[in-house]
Subunit: 302 residues, 2 copies
């Protein structure tokens, strides 16, 4: 299954890149192949300064070797030897009305135990209920055939995970987040893998229509400033709380691949607080956890 | 001594603000007084969008109450009850040739033990050996009369502390860093306090001349971009490694006062690497730990 999983993640990387490049008349993803000193390697692909996409990173990696003992102890398997493959991506559109999106899908094999993890979550700067609803519904439809508990469980997990306690804010409007999907009484490992493939394929259907309908909305300095400030929350979450990022940096992973998630341009303003009733101020209400998949976006207003 | 220390930190805040405002014809520091729910409070003062200073935060706080038990256990005193006062500051100049600077000075009282901590360190974006030398010499002259070991010990501590393992880079050219200066066989607590006062007063002499001589140097888009990217390292250090920041955020300190250290505008570029031989590329050599106080800046070239 390792080979199948790695092959799926590699092809998912390609199809996501193809879809994103179709928005760009002149810029293309670079391709940076790298080797991991301890074993394995990856292909980091970054697009910068597009018309629609200000920055996107879509990374594939397949690595193996030994984990730090302290970390290995927190995992399901025995010993420190591991293998992992996955794809991870972040898209920072230029237009402030287009949401940032993050996703990753991975398989781990450690000490005889194998599992899948991953997820996809959306971070808008302006609230469009129909975008949130479309994103969640599309993902829910990919989850439901596999296990009716997947979407509600993984949606709740996502809301808990992407939370900034020091801001008392969620990072965005969520999506799904899951980890340690092993074989159990109800699922074979193959069934877990089938789910991960469907979730991975659903990503483009969930996100691309949002980019399509927001990329040409007109905006000015005010919207751009709001976007740059909200991007600061993204940086705060990733550097202070995100397990993948902090673990990667502290165990000397490939820094440039890990920090490709950083937004291209970010502003911090002391005590930023959009005026009451402004479009900008509505984002605080919009990012509160909500049952998006059950809402009809067209008729729902903040 | 608590009262004396708090009073000194308060007056240091005022004199630093006065010195910085003298550079600005039209903008002034705001003044944001706040109460800490658990006890005490502070005065956060921020200057934004000046001609010379893009952003500066100079904070005073005097707080007391109970520390989280896990954290209290790592401290010299008994129990969780504590009192702390201090001043902390960060200055992000607009001109890329003018260095960013950070300093803080504080007194702690916990479970019958009292100590001082603090430091000052410089983060240039372009290497000027004479700036580094002036900064270190001025601080060394403030340290030496108190204890000949202070400067070398605290300089080395600073180099160790402000280090980004994932970049294999120091944050800047250092300065001094010290903590847990308690009374011991060689020093009374009053003598520790005398030292902290001299170090605090030396800060302006160490930094202001650098701001004065770099603030009007002409620069363009290239230098500005380099500055914005290097500021990203500052964010990475503060959010991933800095104990004050991460502890403050995780224990629900006042977020806006803690994150006033964030630069006003920051850029992340994938795999940024200034061309060999460029002025920008010299910063990597310049930030390697060096015995700045013994160098003659005028005759030393990178």
């Amino acid at each position: 299954m390792r080979e199948q999983a790695a092959s799926f993640f590699r092809s998912l990387q390609s199809s996501i890149i193809e879809a994103l490049e179709s928005f760009e008349p002149s810029v293309r993803f670079n391709a940076d192949a790298w080797d991991r000193p301890g074993g394995g390697g990856g292909l980091t692909r970054v697009l910068l300064d597009g018309d629609v996409i200000e920055k996107a990173g879509v990374n594939f990696s397949e690595v193996h070797g030994d984990l730090p003992e302290d970390f290995a102890k927190t995992l399901p398997g025995e010993g420190t030897s591991f293998w992992a493959a996955g794809v991870s991506l972040i898209i920072h559109p230029r237009n402030p009305y287009a949401p940032t999106v993050h996703a990753n899908f991975r398989m781990l094999d450690q000490g005889g135990e194998q599992w899948f993890g991953g997820g996809a979550d959306l971070t808008p700067y302006y609230p469009f209920a129909e975008d949130a609803t479309h994103f969640h519904k599309t993902i829910k439809e990919a989850c439901d055939p596999h296990d009716a508990a997947y979407y509600p469980d993984f949606k709740a997990w996502c809301d808990r995970y992407f939370y900034l306690p020091h801001r008392e804010e969620c990072r965005g409007i969520g999506g799904i987040f899951f980890d340690r999907l092993q074989a159990d009484e109800a699922h074979t490992l193959s069934q877990r893998f089938e789910f991960v493939q469907d979730a991975g394929r659903a990503f483009l259907d969930a996100y691309i229509p949002l980019l399509q309908r927001r990329k040409d909305l007109s905006y000015g300095e005010r919207e751009r400033e709001h976007q740059l400030i909200r991007r600061g929350r993204y940086v705060e979450f990733n550097l202070v709380y995100d397990r993948g990022t902090t673990f990667g940096l502290k165990t000397r992973g490939r820094t440039e691949s890990i920090l490709v998630s950083m937004p291209p341009l970010v502003r911090w303003v002391y005590d930023y607080s959009p005026s009451e009733g402004s479009a900008e101020s509505q984002i605080f209400e919009a990012i509160k956890p909500r049952d998006w998949a059950s809402l009809e976006g067209e008729t729902y207003h903040y």
